[in-house]
């Protein structure tokens, strides 16, 4: 198996994880550094991800032992590993923490992006998922948790089951993109890995995530409106969750011409919502062609316990985590191992993640700009599924430009019907 040259590796684990990577490959063809890991040969064969590791069927512990070395070799040399998958199933619940330990013990920045099961999937799944999440949060530098129940707005009675799962996969994909984009921001405005760790590294915390995409002159306003509508940004009974967060990560991706004023306006708006006590960390990937859509991602968290930061004196030792950790048996209780893992100090995280991040920023999203315009429809479909919005090519919305879009069946109906159907009209003749 060829080792990907890219500096961060996205690992999709289990059926959900592989589905998300497939969606990603469709929307960002050419993106490298993807790895699919599953014990379901059918799902793996059907996947379009190039690099795959097949876990033997049966006991996941036994399976992990078989793939341990191969996985280790694959992630070797990368700067960060982002694991993605659904918790609750036997595969994901076991393999995610196990692979996280493996990556962490190799001294890599390890992050995870996971979906929690719907409550209708049963208590057994729920318990399994919670145990796995607990372990993941102990091990990883950052964990984004997408609560499927919350995602469906607490109304599974209304949403169709199939739709709910599609929405869940789409959201997981967007969260993965957000995280990937955030670790690779560079330039004068950036999000450091320490910031990500600060926001997403708290065990037991609830992740708040919003995503919006828009085009045209009013793109920033619209993208933010859409992002703020995410059900994952509300806390039951408390309203807007951003008020409860001490730090918000904001990532903007889009055309070269994202202006200072635009960024300032969006930060100002979020400040208004979140209050003065909240720090906003901004990352900008502004290298797309002019006119490409603007994507806006918000990540924050509330609750959770702050992990004891490593003492400054320890920071030197943690430079070689490999030496501190003996090869891990996946069968042994993961939580014990997790707690023993040295926590790299923040300063170190910055320095190591940084230089690599800056260099690798462009490689991380090698094709991030072109597909946005080429496969605009597909990308737009993502945002539609996620937030009930659809960013069509720059069409005129006329007087509805600044109003809340009317989205039905995935179409922005404020755009004149004849435009959406591509019907030519005779222009009026001036006298």
């Amino acid at each position: 198996m060829s080792t990907s040259p890219s500096r961060r590796i996205l690992v999709g684990i289990g059926n959900a994880g592989v589905t998300v990577l497939d969606l990603l490959s469709v929307e960002y063809p050419g993106m490298t550094g993807l790895l699919a890991v599953n014990n379901d040969p059918d799902s793996l064969n059907a996947s379009i991800v190039r690099d795959k590791i097949e876990v033997p069927e049966g006991d996941p512990g036994e399976g992990f032992r078989v793939i341990d070395d191969e996985f280790g070799r694959t992630v070797e040399g990368s700067s960060a590993v982002i694991l993605c998958g659904g918790l609750g199933g036997e595969t994901g619940s076991f393999l995610l923490p196990a692979l996280a330990i493996r990556a962490k013990s190799a001294g890599l920045t390890t992050m995870a992006c996971v979906g929690m099961p719907f409550s209708f999937e049963g208590k057994h799944k729920r318990d399994l998922a919670e145990r796995a999440l607990e372990k993941l949060q102990e091990i990883c530098d950052a964990v984004v948790v997408i609560g499927n129940d919350q995602l469906s707005g607490g109304s599974p009675s209304i949403a169709a089951v199939g739709e709910a799962f599609v929405l869940s996969d789409r959201t997981l994909l967007a969260a993965l993109l957000a995280l990937t984009g955030m670790i690779s921001t560079s330039g004068p405005v950036k999000i450091t890995r320490a910031d990500i760790h600060h926001v997403l590294g708290k065990p037991g915390a609830i992740t708040h995530f919003g995503f919006g995409k828009a085009e045209g002159s009013n793109r920033l306003h619209e993208a933010l409106e859409r992002a703020l509508k995410s059900p994952l940004l509300t806390l039951p009974g408390k309203g807007m969750a951003l008020k409860e967060s001490s730090m918000i990560l904001l990532l903007l991706r889009g055309a070269k011409d994202i202006s200072f004023a635009e960024v300032q306006a969006v930060v100002g708006k979020i400040e208004q919502i979140a209050g003065d006590n909240c720090q906003i960390k901004v990352g900008v990937h502004a290298d797309g062609p002019l006119g490409s859509a603007l994507e806006l991602y918000l990540l924050a968290s509330s609750g959770g316990t702050v992990r004891k930061p490593a003492k400054p004196s320890e920071s030197n030792e943690t430079g070689e985590p490999n030496s501190a950790i003996s090869p891990i048996s996946p069968i042994s209780p993961v939580s014990q191992i997790g707690t023993k893992l040295p926590q790299p100090s923040r300063g170190e995280e910055i320095s190591s993640g940084h230089s690599e991040g800056e260099k690798g920023a462009d490689e991380l999203f090698p094709v991030q700009t072109k597909p946005t315009s080429k496969s605009g429809k597909k990308a737009a479909a993502t945002s539609k599924q996620m937030q009930g919005t659809l960013a069509l090519d720059t069409y005129q919305r006329g007087r509805f430009d600044k109003s809340e879009p009317t989205i039905v069946e995935g179409e922005d109906l404020d755009i004149p019907t004849f435009l959406r159907k591509g019907i030519k009209l005779n222009p009026p003749t001036r006298k």
């Binding site: 007087r399 109003s403 809340e404 009317t406 039905v408 109906l413 004149p416 435009l419 222009p427």
Partner: protein, 407 residues
Amino acid sequence: MANEQIFVGLEIGTTKISVIVAEARDDDQISILGVGETPSRGVRKGEIVDMETVTECVREAILDAEDKTNVEIGNVWVAITGSHLASFNNRGSLALRAERQIEPEDLEAVEVNAKEVAIPTPNTFLHTILQAYHVDGNQNVIDPLKSEGALLEADFHIVHGIKTRIHNTLRCIESLKIGIEDVVLSSLASAQVVLSQDQKNYGALMIDIGGGTTDYLVYIDGAIRHSGVLALGGDHITNDISVGLRLPIARAELLKIEEGSASDPVSSEGGFISLKNDPRFLGCDVDRVSLETIIHLRVKEIFELIRRDIESSGEGMMDLIRGVMITGGCSKLKGIAQVAEEVFDIPVELTRARNVSGATQIFEDPQYSTAIGLTKYARLVTKNIAPESMLDRFTQGLGSLFKKRSR
């Protein structure tokens, strides 16, 4: 006149704010005393976006109504719309401990049971409307109070919406020191005066096309089976014309009213419409086929969206609808009925408030259907008897709460 009662219906529409003052008459009818009206500002797609401006407009409309009718307005019935409103049908069930006669408390308990469903956290219940009772599997029991049984079930049509947006409307009215009797779904109000009991029993779809929203409601066997709000209306047609023909909004609106037609442009008379110069607008000639194409596509799309929504909300529901009634300001658009007939493939009728008396030019205008409907709804609810039939009984959820608050 004995038993005389005054009801005031207030509709904060996207185009205009109308206040209808009506009098209840002995024969169950209502008689319209007058209407107060102002053009609406600060309302988009049926929802308030600029509280201060809207409050001022509502004040003007209320004063206008008071002037015209000599009635001092203290309490109003308010219509509510907006794309945030959603609905679904749900069955509540109540197992009685032993076989016995059903009591009024049981009817309340079964309604509470039906509302025990998860709606999104920011939402609140607006209406819980009874569809039918079933006793021990006996379908459609008209009056369960007289029957005996061990299992009482009831089907409800439940309407819910975002609490804060509903509160916005209420706050705006309360700030004028006007009491709120109840909040009523716009389409439910319109249906009271637009549909006859026969139509409700026979199966009817009522579509109220306004400026900012299109509200619709399905009655089958005398009960509401489906309701919906599309944030699309006449404003969208105007905007489409403005974008497509590069005209200022005001010009586009005028052109829509004077020359607009929703008919299929295939049968267009063709030619050009000459728009004259005015100080702020350079005249031009507009291709009639283009104008009709723009309108036709939009109107057809609105009807198709409604059709698909009804089809997806209940299998076979569309087959049980025998007629479409179209009302609202936008129903005055030429050719709209033919487009609806094409889409729904059942008889379509343009309609307006009926079974009311008073100033005829008011209730004959379809743009007042909702406001007039509010007063009829008020009449039916306050009369405290089963209005029209048992199946039409409205049970208040949120509404009665506000009633207490506003007094």
